[in-house]
Subunit: 111 residues, 2 copies
Amino acid sequence: MALSADLLRGYTDTIILRQLSHADSYGYRISKQVSLISQGGLEMKEATLYTAFRRLETAGLIRSYWGDETTGARRRYYAITEAGLEKLNQDCAAWEETKIMMDRLLKEDVE
Amino acid sequence: MALSADLLRGYTDTIILRQLSHADSYGYRISKQVSLISQGGLEMKEATLYTAFRRLETAGLIRSYWGDETTGARRRYYAITEAGLEKLNQDCAAWEETKIMMDRLLKEDVE
DNA sequence: TGATATACATTGACAGGCGAGGTATATAGA
DNA sequence: TCTATATACCTCGCCTGTCAATGTATATCA
């Protein structure tokens, strides 16, 4: 990822889960979507992306299947699972808390 | 750190710089302050903290000196440098952008 | 024919977080 | 007096996530 790369470490998974919560998708597309939505601010590197897919699938948060494209490069599609949706909700809640916490840590003056 | 540990990776430095922007401080105190301000949500581990101090000092963003306590354990104080203040400003700006980006990635629906 | 876009995947280096361990001083209580 | 607890410092080595580099294959367009 670019820009605040390290900050978002660990939220890669959440971002992917969120994209999959719209509809099944595949690596290349998710990577483009993320660039688009973040207006170029965040670029998920392929290595990072595919590592995350493996991690998420192992954890049972997503599952994958090969698309039946008759033309062009084959695509491995990913779908979010029930557990994945739960995780997404948790992560989003955690993100809200993190924002509040960080804002306090970065702005608030100490007693 | 607890909770969103991984997310804050890389922002450890920023949090420390912010604390030092109030006044010179030392490891143990900063760690307590962070717990206090974040209401226990974020606990900076000592290993993390001292690693960060080394990193920041090497980078010229802070400097250190021994306190002249005549009683109790000795303290190594840290002070933020001019470069550190600049870095802090940049990081805070980056944080604001990151929030916007993440909110878009986690909430906004794709086209 | 060669460049570019689509689409997948792995390997190995690197960096940051942190558990576990260690040192030393001061104080309060049993 | 001895022990526990708080204050205060520090390092080693493991683990995990990111990512540059590299490799594969298909389709399109100049």
